[in-house]
Symmetry: C2
Subunit: 91 residues, 2 copies
């Protein structure tokens, strides 16, 4: 039971790990210091995890990576939306 809690906590914290970054981008409308390569690397990596989860038919792997994948799509979308704000901030 204790280990189930630790495993669930680990899964929940990491699967929603990009949510604070999403809120920060939404609030500040600025992504100058955020690494697009980081977002894209996780995007591809999580997509491969998802494929792998489907292959091994593990529901926990599938669900966690679907959630992460959605947050990454949102983060990358916001990145491109606010990328143009760079020049404004440098003034």
């Amino acid at each position: 039971m204790q280990w189930e809690l630790i495993g669930s906590g680990a899964a929940l914290l990491t699967m929603f790990g990009f949510v604070p970054q999403i809120f920060k981008i939404y609030r500040t409308e600025s992504v100058e210091d955020v690494s697009l390569l980081m977002l894209l690397q996780f995007f591809v990596g999580i997509f491969l995890w998802l494929l792998y989860g489907i292959h091994i038919q593990d529901k926990i792997v599938i669900v966690s990576n679907v959630v992460s994948f959605i947050t990454l799509v949102v983060a990358i979308g916001l990145y491109f939306k606010y990328r143009k704000n760079r020049s404004r901030k440098e003034k």
Copy 2:
């Protein structure tokens, strides 16, 4: 074999996922738009994954999360090192 490649690719891409962000912080010396909460949430989440991996004695879970944990320690260290640069950039 194909699925081993997909699983390995997934593991490699995500375990080194924060490396591009680390290089970006190192290069720009700026973390204004990076969410500290994101880094801390992954830090705790990955630590719990590591404990869980040790519990289930799964080498792949242990190794991936040790690597991620080290990159998060570096990223959080750089965050606090360059946090003070905020005012400089706003000038």
